[in-house]
């Protein structure tokens, strides 16, 4: 496979994952705005920070409110991580690697692009927001489903998966990076409604309220939430789950190519050093420091994969 093709697959699936994650964050932000009294400005600020798009927004000089934040995150062409630009990026990369995709996957991603362009052609009125977000996530789910159902399990698939899980791990780590303080024992005041809302926000932004309840019952406990998002391998967006998948796919690649490049070791290192302990060790190390370290390591791993598999000249 061409290095360029591996690169294209990696980014196609990163962008798709990003579009989904951003749309989920928009939904969470809107939900908080609707259910809380008072100013939602701080909440939108933190949502945009989580999506990594706050700085870009501030540079536009626009006043921060719900409407502006939603538009920035959903449709802005100036925002390289908006849902629309992410979907355009995914589709552009899909065109580049079209020879590596099945017909079904190509049509699903092209269909997503065509639908998103139509749905996001204009500012989305508040009352249409749930429907628009729902439709976009349905489309991206179709891409994921056709990938799962029609693609060979070979290096093409491995690069697609590595892109997906690298983006997802990054997303979960950033949510924790922004919201870590609400999970710290020092500010813990069990049962306070403020914390409940904050915890719920975290779970919503990874679509895991139901999953959490199923695994841990109805009582929100910040340590459980931290464990759930960081170490719980049942949870498909936890850091341990994502890094485990990246490691698996890197190993498949190494096996089929008959090599053992540095990226394999780096993935194993993150897993063993940071994602195999109990949650107390995480808090002992300092939740924030811990998350920052993992975020950096994930970024570094991405860079190593680019080098190992000759994404660029």
């Amino acid at each position: 496979m061409l290095g360029k093709t591996a690169n294209g697959l990696f980014w196609m699936y990163r962008y798709l994952e990003r579009a989904e994650n951003t749309s989920r964050l928009v939904e969470t932000g809107q939900r908080i705005a609707l259910t809380r009294l008072g100013s939602s400005e701080a909440e939108w600020r933190s949502i945009m920070q989580t999506a990594g798009v706050l700085q870009g927004f501030e540079e536009t000089g626009e006043e921060l409110n719900g409407e502006a934040a939603i538009d920035w995150m959903l449709r802005s062409k100036a925002n390289p991580s908006s849902v629309l630009t992410s979907i355009e990026g995914a589709r552009q990369n899909a065109r580049l690697v079209r020879t590596a995709l099945t017909h079904e996957v190509w049509e699903a991603v092209n269909g997503t692009y065509m639908a998103a362009k139509k749905l996001l052609a204009r500012k989305v009125p508040e009352r249409d927001l749930p429907e628009v977000l729902g439709k976009i996530r349905q489309r991206t789910a179709l891409v994921r489903g056709s990938t799962h159902g029609t693609m060979l399990r070979n290096d093409i698939y491995n690069f697609a998966r590595i892109g997906t899980f690298l983006e997802r791990a990054d997303n979960t780590a950033r949510i924790l990076d922004v919201k870590y303080y609400v999970l710290l024992p020092s500010v813990m005041s069990v049962g306070s409604s403020i914390d409940n809302v904050q915890w719920e926000t975290i779970l919503r932004s990874v679509s895991a309220r139901g999953g959490f309840r199923m695994a841990y019952g109805n009582n929100y406990d910040p340590v459980d939430i931290a464990y759930f998002l960081i170490l719980d391998k049942r949870m498909p967006r936890s850091l341990a789950f994502c890094v485990g998948k990246i490691r698996d796919n890197l190993n498949y690649l190494a096996e089929s190519y008959g090599t053992n490049p540095p990226s394999c070791e780096k993935a194993s290192f993150i897993e063993q050093r940071y994602l195999s302990h109990n949650i107390d060790a995480v808090f002992d190390e300092g939740l924030h420091q811990y998350i920052e370290k993992v975020l950096n390591l994930i970024g570094d791993l991405g860079g190593q994969i680019e080098v190992d598999y000759r994404f660029y000249e």
Binding site: G3, A6, Q92, T99, R310
Partner: protein, 474 residues
Amino acid sequence: MDENQIFDEMWGRTETLRPPYSMFKEWFDGEDPSRLRAKQREAEELFRLTGITFNVYGRAEAEERLIPFDIVPRIISGLEWQRLSRGIEQRVRAINAFLYDIYHKQEIVKAGRIPEHMISQNEAFLPHMVGVNPPGGVYTHIVGIDLVRTDDNQFYVLEDNARTPSGVSYMLENRETMLQMFPELFANNRVKPVETYPTNLRRSLAACAPPATTGNPTVAVLTPGIFNSAYFEHSFLADQMGAELVEGHDLRVVDGRVAMRTTEGYKPIDVLYRRVDDDFLDPLNFNPESQLGVPGIMDVYRAGGITIANTPGTGIADDKAIYSYMPEIVEFYTGERPLLENVPTYRCSEPDALAYVLDNLSELVVKEVHGSGGYGMLIGPTATKKDIAAFRKKLKARPGNYIAQPTLALSTVPVFSRAGLSPRHVDLRPFVLVSPDKIDITPGGLTRVALKKGSLVVNSSQGGGTKDTWVLED
């Protein structure tokens, strides 16, 4: 143009249904027009979803457009096709023999059949290719012969495309679309298949693998990139052939071979189906500014390390000035009378011809020798006086840059319009594959249709559309 001068492929000149269309007519009459209109929209949706679009140059935002597709097939009888394909094969053989000769002993020049300056002064002549033997002896692996029809038995070759003919993906996708939308039509008509083209292309390219090949030849398609107007076709063909789709920056010369950067290191390519012009192929040997090619590929080529398809320098055979010599070329190399006719052509470089052309501009089509895509031409009968005057100036300034031809009464084929079936002018580009042991012509080809009533310009860049082209099993 007088309407009854025009030959319609469905109705002839006398409103008598021609036999190849009889089954179609019966089907069409039984169809509800509103269903057909819905189908026409459905076809467009299919094309968009598949991504069969082309990029429009010169726009700020790379806009993707569809080439309009018309659901009425263009139907050719088996017998008509047999005659045509014999003529095409003869012509393509002659083109390859001509190219070999031009880059070797130039017997045709020595015999006085083509003036020496037509070769040596020709921009499309590539001195780098002199004395080089392309692997398998093939120069034009892929050829598109543009044909027009003016009567029941009268076809003309309008143009030979011996460099990088495009459009074959439309031929294939048009058929795919028709099969999806109107399966019943194919149950009732025995239409010769076209879908073997990619397999044949791969086989044909592999059969020309260079001496350096070990094992099963590695084939790659070289594209200028995602913003090229024909990018869809490049990726489509690579996909269908199971070949890699590469760009210049994926390639470099490694150990005397052209190699592509893969996830496992550099791997040599045996056959490169390039969709990049000669000039951009090798910045070391040709245009030094080119980012699209591979530095040093021509040196590898000359040493037998890679096959380039089509071979560099084939443009000399489809040059519009050389075109006028095609009848001589066919006779010279095959020893036979040409089976397909050329359109009578005036070479404006010749004083007598120029004088005639200047006197008759309003009746002639004047083309640039090196132009393509329907740009830079004058269609006398539809041009305004102002256009003609402006063109006259250009022609006088550089007569050698132009040829002129009579305006042909191009045949029409019906398109499905609001008014039902309406005649529109068409041309035909059959695709020909050349390998060392045979010439393979896909039955049919790409029919381009001028969608504007009365228009003779079928180019997609100027509002043309396409049709599925059927060759029937008689």
